[in-house]
Subunit: 280 residues, 2 copies
């Protein structure tokens, strides 16, 4: 068994970010990001904290906006429109999902697509269907792709099974894998024989949000397993895979914690810097 830790992937992305910042610096440009948090959701606050810490590490400036959970949607949209027009701001990140979700799509759609560094707009999501590369991807699927790339996992002709069909991870990731010429299967809670679907794959990617759903019986030797889940199981952080009981000799698998989760924040920053470089 080989554990595919997130740390070396993260170190590599850090280096890429620094090189791009160096290039931008030569052009007298520093990317700047606006962070918008609505309400006091603990997950959002944790993510915001990690993001700010990372931005400081790269000396990337940010403006931070915090709104009450019951803030008027029109106020939020006006703020986003102001940021869209602000030439100083290169990226806008709204912590998602927005609660109450009733207006979340409308609020997300207000972001100008060129500043939509988390791929929250339908426009950027629609671009995923095109043959050519996107300017911006949803961060978690991209973190998975970065992990596969770093560990030299070729995708052409490979059988990939994605477990979980959420909008932000499963569906978007499926399209990204299809574009890389993999044969892709997407499973969901109604899949009849999940074990067969996962055992049949060269690469298994789990994004269900259910702790230890994927057991030893779902996997086999010689697979690559990417675990996107971050769940709490009896007070401990656990992935979607029952990691401790997987003992195949030649399986390669990301752990939780210390796996893909480490990379997501950096992926967001990479997208900010990368697209600023492309558009500058």
């Amino acid at each position: 068994m080989r554990i595919l830790y997130g740390k070396p992937v993260a170190e590599n992305i850090k280096k890429e970010i620094q090189e791009m910042l160096f290039e931008l610096n030569k052009r007298n440009k520093t990317p700047k990001i606006a962070l918008i948090r609505i309400g006091e959701n603990m997950d959002d606050i944790t993510y915001e904290h990690s993001l700010k810490r990372n931005l400081k590490m790269f000396s990337i400036p940010y403006d931070s906006y915090v709104y009450a959970q019951d803030e008027d949607a029109e106020v939020l949209k006006r703020q986003i429109e102001k940021l869209n027009k602000d030439d100083e701001i290169d990226g806008i990140m709204i912590f998602r999902p927005i609660h109450p979700q009733i207006e979340q799509f409308e609020i997300n759609e207000t972001i100008h697509w060129k500043k939509d560094i988390d791929c929250a707009t339908s426009y950027n999501q629609g671009k995923l269907f095109e043959k050519k590369s996107n300017l911006l991807y949803p961060c978690t699927p991209r973190a998975v792709m970065e992990t596969l790339r770093f560990y030299g996992v070729d995708l052409v002709s490979k059988k990939c099974t994605v477990v979980g069909a959420s909008q932000v991870v499963g569906k978007a990731l499926a399209i990204m894998l299809i574009k890389e010429k993999a044969t892709v299967t997407v499973c969901n809670s109604k899949t009849l024989d999940l074990k067969a679907e996962t055992r049949d794959a060269d690469i298994v990617i789990c994004a269900t949000g259910q702790a230890k759903l994927i057991t030893k019986e779902h996997l086999r030797d010689n697979q690559v397993v990417i675990d996107v889940g971050i769940n709490f199981d009896n007070g401990k952080i656990s992935g979607d895979v029952d990691f401790e009981n997987i003992d195949y000799d030649n399986i390669r698998i990301t752990p939780v914690p210390k796996g893909v989760g480490v990379i997501t924040t950096l992926t967001l920053i990479k997208q900010l810097v990368e697209k600023t470089l492309k558009l500058s």
Copy 2:
């Protein structure tokens, strides 16, 4: 073997369109469509002809614009913007792909999403990822869904294999099937064992553009096979399936011609009328 002809599906859609038109008529509203053809591509002209014939059948008015293949993109965009603002126009249809393709995305994106009845904009394509229903779908995938619905093919927990991963059919259809809680596999030209992937499925949908690629060996009894291909093979129209040599007792299969192709034009008109009703 049971042949799933397009005609009864088409008759049913015609009835639905007529009912919606009757409802719109009560509100003093007749939907109107603008057709834009660029160049003299034979496929476009054939589709345009069929569309106009059908529109006349429903007494739906249309404006028809024809531009030279080398028309300036700015002229086209200005025309689309004019149609976007025109309250008389409910839908805008540009025959695709636009040649030369270099500016096709930019031209398509100009269409206002509410008038984008063929789902040509990234915005409407991105909406496919959302949990809720779209206002508008790409017409060919929707014609497939209409066929499955008409013939009572339930999708929940079913294994669907989509052969072909194009932007307009394969990828979009995959997401639409995933939303219906099917377990969906998408194959492409790099898939190693296509026969295994198709034989393993309850429902096989072919959209490759390769005549008779799917042979008897790719299929088995008790499957539903939807053939989206319209190809020319020795001067004869042929689907992606080697239809003549399929002889399983309980297979259900759409023919080519007289299959899904009959439904696509009507699907476009249905979307025009349906969304006009929803938004009126």
